[in-house]
Assembly symmetry: C2
Homo-oligomer: 414 residues x 2
């Protein structure tokens, strides 16, 4: 029995120092001519193709035999001209411009919120259906915010060939991973309140953050001071704790209008062998943006403005999969055995809940996997009757938390 739990190849899973993340599932030789290149398939564009999620888009398209008649590789001017191979064909990375979307049916965006804001509506104007991985449009009325296993009805009627463009938002990674497990229980017993604490991987901050975690770890083990290019404490430009509220506004503003690498940083935050409150800007209410995404996106995805959610988001020194400790309070009674059965039958969810062997989900075990793993399913001792459960959830941040979910949305457009 125990043999199935060993992870003999775990040591090979560390993020490669190559900027191109390796697809690891069902990967065919690059020289195989794929059937997914089909004349009647849609024309596709990948925006931000050189980033961690952009690369995972390509990996998932391949894994799922996503049909396409053409694919454009789009990125910033800096990356334009780079050569890449995808499914046995050579491509040149093109600079993203307003003209990039001529004749494009589906555009997968993952290049940050400001790029989405600048080019998303322009693409829609040209008749493209944009699946956007940024936070830019998630809370905009009329833009569906979709987890295909959870609320496919939100994008009802949006299809390639309907003759007009559309925007569909991919939820935040923490929200997707949490709701993959919480929704089947919510559908049975109605969640009234949810208390979430996250254990988030480096990948959520991009490929450079993964590289920095690896670099810092090497440095710390060698007794050297850690390099801090990505994670640093932010200097408030007002330079005074009394003006911290003003400062919060500034940081929130800077996050929405530019990308993180343009922000003013100072003060090294060691990530190796350490953890820290999520690096998203903190709002005046004391929650950071990442936490508020969990609060707001859950309400929109569940179409339930009354559901109470609180979250504490923490970055841990793990490469590419998030974990979340979720405490649930239900309107109707729900015992743990029933909850376990519901989760075992839920699409995209795998239950790992072996108390005898102390085997529960870990980030490493779900890395490069499609399914979200749930375990530690138990009746909450702190709630009366059968109205509370504690669960522990792990999911690959780049895959189901971003690229896979977006491509599942794209599949529903066909």
């Amino acid at each position: 029995m125990a043999a199935t739990f060993t992870q003999p190849h775990a040591h090979g899973r560390l993020f490669s120092t190559s900027p191109v993340a390796k697809p690891t599932r069902k990967l065919l030789s690059p020289f195989t001519v794929r059937m997914s290149l089909q004349e009647n398939g849609p024309s596709v564009a990948v925006v931000g193709v050189t980033g961690a999620v952009g690369q995972e888009f390509l990996s998932v398209l391949t894994d799922r035999d996503f049909p396409y008649r053409s694919i454009k590789m789009l990125a910033s001017k800096r990356s334009a001209g780079k050569q890449m191979t995808f499914e046995g064909r050579n491509y040149t990375v093109e600079e993203l411009t307003a003209d990039s979307f001529d004749g494009v049916d589906i555009a997968l965006f993952s290049a940050g919120g400001s790029i989405s804001k600048q080019f998303g509506p322009a693409a829609v104007e040209k008749g493209t259906i944009v699946v956007d991985n940024s936070s830019a449009f998630r809370m905009v009325d009329g833009v569906p915010l979709v987890i295909p296993e959870v609320n496919p009805q939100a994008m009802h009627g949006i299809k390639v060939g309907m003759g007009k463009g559309a925007l569909i938002a991919n939820p935040n990674c923490s929200t997707i991973i949490c709701l993959m497990a919480a929704t089947p229980l919510h559908q049975r017993a109605k969640v009234l309140r949810m208390v979430v604490s996250t254990y988030q991987a480096a990948s959520g901050a991009g490929a450079a953050a993964m590289e920095e975690l690896e670099l810092q770890t090497r440095e710390v083990l060698e007794g050297k001071p850690p390099t801090c290019n990505i994670f640093s404490q932010q200097v408030c430009p007002f330079g005074d704790a009394l003006l911290s509220y003003l400062c919060s506004f500034f940081i929130v503003f800077s996050c929405f209008t530019s990308e993180a690498d343009e922000m003013v940083f100072a003060g090294c935050v060691q990530y190796a062998f350490n953890l820290f409150s999520h690096n998203a800007p903190v709002q005046p209410n004391g929650y950071n943006e990442e936490e508020m995404k969990l609060v707001k996106e859950t309400r929109k995805i569940w179409s339930d403005l009354d559901v109470k959610v609180t979250a504490t988001c923490i970055r841990v020194p793990v490469m590419r999969a998030h974990a979340e400790s979720v405490n649930l309070q239900f309107e109707k009674p729900l015992d743990e055995d029933t909850a376990r059965e519901i989760l075992k039958n839920a699409a995209g969810v795998v239950v790992i809940d072996d108390r005898a062997s102390n085997h529960f989900p870990t980030p490493l075990e779900v890395s490069n996997k499609d399914d979200v793993a749930v375990g530690r399913i138990r009746q909450d001792l702190s709630q009366e009757g059968n109205h509370g459960l504690d669960i522990f959830v792990c999911g690959d941040q780049i895959r189901k938390g971003a690229a896979l979910n977006a491509i599942q949305i794209a599949e529903m457009l066909l």
Copy 2:
């Protein structure tokens, strides 16, 4: 302002590969003759002196100028005969036997539950006051379970020189760190319910676990399979998932009657760049022992059998300080500004809560420090009115979570 947040020496904080953890605060030269060696001081014994907490006992005794007229270094037969230097004097580690406690006023135990059960009552018989760091006696009626800043009254009347021995239990590290922050708020507004998710360091599993985390990390970075001597998934001796309840009983039993290294293990759990549900045995109710300690010890320390507590305990790849995300529900209203002021004035607590600079407690920042750090103090959006708060707490597991708390208890015996 930001300069004060930098951690330029963080790279020196990794656990030394030497089995003897270095004391890092206020350490005098080993050749200085300390004033703490005093004829009218108590005679002291340290049980488990070669372990991580045993070594920290010595460090804290020095840091706090704890007075003593003699000190015995006690350990298992395996370590007996080893030479060590403490405050400028040479000592030979002695084998722990029933006769070890003749003439000993205070014995600090940290050698596991079975050693405490075997030798603790014998020491008390000889008139020794035992401060026990294991879980052996924590929940025994009549044994005070003490955090000096929280419930000093529980050990009222127990003093060196009173002519008889006594047992005092040191709470579990997660409980101490949580309650250092939660108690001042509880005293003002009465905690009704507490939802805790932990981010626990390697040190809680001992010096060997810290070494294994460091070793595994080196191996993973070199592309080698990780060594798994300490953390492994347990094989259920009944070998059948249908018998998992029986199995749970077995594992709980084996934990209470022997030490972890005697358990049957199989299945490597990679700790480097990963995290996992706390390795304590899981009870039939689905909670592991570590979680149940938080539930039960909180009730005893607060003398409040009604307080509702749930916990999810997770081991993260951090060396020696725990973090905890704590959601609190109060009987009386308590706003976040008042809470912050209460915590700023609480003994043994430091508030790090700078929203503008995104500077909050981290395990690294509290490593080798006495105080428990609290931040992310904010009104819980998921609770009505001012009856809920979220906080994030970090504390050194070896220090306040174990050795410091025990020696604070010992100071109250004088």
